[in-house]
Structure formats: C-alpha cells, structure tokens
Assembly symmetry: C2
Homo-oligomer: 234 residues x 2
C-alpha cells in the first residue's frame, strides 16, 4: 500500500492517507511527508494531494502548519454533526404526522436570564411565544421563544397563529450565529401536564441563543417529550 502506480484522485489519496493513520503506521503526533513528496509518490500533483490533506485536516485527523508541515492529530476529536432542523420538517421526516398548536404569544417583559443572554436591558419587552408540536397527535416538543422585536419587523399574529414561527424566521431573519446547550431536566408539573407524563419525568432541553451578525435575535428553549432521542453519526 501507499505505493506508486498513479493513484490520482483525491478521494483515493484521502483514503490511503487515512488508512495509514488508522492502521497506526503514521502515529499520532508524528510528521507525515510533505505535499510534494506525496504527490510524487502517488503520481499526482500538489493541488490534488493538498485537496485530500485539507479534507482530512478539516475532519480533524491532521494538523497543518506552514513551514511546520503536516502532523497526525494527537487527539482526533471527531466532530459529530448535530443538525438544527425546522421542527415541523423533522417530524415529517421521522415518518409522523406533524401538528402545531400555539399556546401563547405576547409582547412582555422577559425573565432576567433571558434578557441577559441577549444582552438586553433587564425588563425589556420581548415577543414571547409558547407553542406545542405534535407527532401523530401526541405532544412531541414544547417551544418557548423570546424574540427581539426590532429584529422581526413584519412578523405578525397571522403568521404565528397558524404556522410555526420557525418557518417565517428562516426566510426573513435567518440567524448567522448561535450558541446551543443540551441538558437533561425534570419536567415541572405544568410542563409534564402538557406532555401527558408524570411530573418530574426526564426531558431533553435544548437552549439556543441566536444572533444575526452582531445583533441578538432571540432565545429558543425546546423541551422534548420524555423518551425522545437525538441521533447522529460519524
């Protein structure tokens, strides 16, 4: 392996280099040959080898530095992609019939922690939306959302009454940056009732604080029905 005879496409080179890493031939922390050298070895060009190595570096398998050369990552922290879907779409894709019920929507003072997360003065009025998403008529996700009014001009009751604000926001005020936290909480009495579950049931809570460029946009708190699992793969 890793011999000559013109392996000339970048995916093959990527595969071969990765095999050298995963088989232990190229140990973590050690330097691998320069681009030019690999290009000769594979009967290819520097551009093509570079493409393969860049891809492996993006995936976290390699560390590259000018003049320092390319080294096998000491700690290949694999990144698992966790997607941030449109709620209704996600339910449909999972093979269920989606449903949406608006519970509350009003401009009101935000809790201190919310306004703080959005870098807004305490007591500022935000649009607070509470809505329940169903999968096959069973409560699936509870959405609590606080939105900065200035950022959502044009969003009105006619939007949120019938369809998730998700979908309006996507087209009209897309976020450019967000912080996401995932935690496990015990459902309060009120929340448990919504999910038709015993009080204290464990629920997955995702909190997302989002910005459009430098301007804070809103906070989303998404409570999942007990038993729900996030899935991903690497």
């Amino acid at each position: 392996m890793t011999k000559d005879d013109a392996v000339t496409d970048w995916k093959a080179i990527r595969r071969d280099v990765l095999a050298n890493i995963q088989s232990g031939q190229w140990q973590p922390g050690s330097k691998i040959p320069r681009e030019i050298e690999l290009a000769e070895r594979y009967g290819s060009t520097r551009s093509t080898v570079g493409r393969a190595l860049r891809d492996l570096a993006d995936a976290g398998f390699l560390d590259r530095k000018r003049k320092g050369g390319t080294t096998v990552a000491a700690n290949p922290m694999r990144k698992a992609p966790l997607d941030v879907p449109i709620l209704r779409d996600a339910i449909t894709k999972a093979g269920h019939r989606p449903g949406y019920r608006l519970l509350h929507a009003k401009l009101q003072c935000a809790p201190a922690d919310i306004s703080a997360a959005l870098a807004q003065p305490p007591g500022v009025k935000l649009l607070y939306i509470r809505a329940l998403y169903f999968a096959d008529d069973r409560p699936h996700q509870l959405e609590l959302r606080w939105l900065v009014p200035e950022m959502i001009r044009g969003l009105g009751p006619d939007h949120w009454a019938t369809s998730p604000v998700d979908e309006w926001l996507l087209c009209n005020a897309p976020l450019t940056r967000a912080q996401i936290e995932i935690e496990s909480i015990a459902l309060s009495d009120a929340l448990a009732r919504l999910f038709e579950q015993p009080s204290g049931s464990p629920s997955l809570l995702i909190t997302r604080v989002s910005w459009k460029d430098a301007a804070p946009l809103g906070v989303l708190r998404l409570y999942h029905a007990p038993g729900h699992r996030l899935r991903t793969a690497i």
Copy 2:
C-alpha cells in the same frame, strides 16, 4: 455589493454569496448564477468560485447538482459540531482536576440489546468495563463499555486499572464509524448513589455504538452528572 472590481479570493466570494443568501436577495429554492458567470462577475476563475460554492454547499447553504445548477438550500439545516472528546482531556480543558476510578472490568455475557446492537450472537462474552470519571473529586461521568474481545487484543488489566480505556483505544483500535444517541433519563437508585444525587435525578445519557470499518467494536454508555450541559455553537 456583488459588483465587479476583482474580488479574487475565495473567502471574499464566499462571504459575498452568503450575504446574498442571508439578506434574502437570493431566495431559498431559487437558482443562483453558474460558476462561469460568477467568475466573470467577480473577475476570478471558475476554480476559485467553485471553491467558495463548494464550501457553502458543505455548510448546507447551497445545493449543487450537475446540469441542475446551484440553488439556495430550501432548508438550511445548520450543522452544529458536537465533539467526541477524550474524557479525561475534556475535564482538564474545562478547568477541572480529572480523576478516574475503575469500578468493574470482566469478560461476561452481554445484555441482549447490547449484543444485538453489535450484531453479535446473543449471550456472547464481551469485555464489560464500568468506570467513574471525576472533576475536582466530584463524580462527573459514569462510563459503561462493552468491547468485542477480538477487536482489542493487547488490552489488558494493567491498562484499564490505572488509565481510561479511551486512551488505549484511540491509539490501538480507533473507530472509523459510530452511531450516537443522546437522551434524557432518570437515574436509577444505584446510579444516583454513584453521583451522590437523589434517585430519579435527570441525567444526560450518550450511547455510542462504534465500528472499525465493517467490524463492530463496542458500545459506550456515558451517564452525565445531573446538571451537566453539552455545549456547541454554529
């Protein structure tokens, strides 16, 4: 914006195209100009424009098809990277003093769900390891691990007694593929005792089934101390 005057580096082109998308000038679902056309517009070449567009496609903002052209993704499902760290390193990086205590390590019959997930015959003997990770002497994560013996030849008691198996596996039997599930569970009496928390406390459970190429490697169940949060950003 999006005018001529030679914007010739791919990051600038990427930025400009992304701005066109996020400002709503290029609506979700609509086609954007061909590579050659953009290359002329930016005073650049097809390769460079291609680099920018490929990057945006990888990030989920664009859909590209040969002959079909490039369209703005109808549903920009942003991918949040969730990393799969070395446990001890993660604790150190979070600014805590790491600790490790092995609770159990024995070759024994695996539960039916575990052997099924690994495509092993029911009742097969697997190496079962139970260990507790500490952060500043407080229990932080509980690791349950089942490993297929054939895949970990060379791993012995001297390894797992003193240091997390994590670290041996990384160098000697790196996974190439994995399925990950994240859920919220209520701690059983036994687990709650380990975390020094009331029984039934909500805990984040991560289950990872991993393979090396086509061969099943093992199952990891990682229970997090109540209150722990996974964080990521996009």
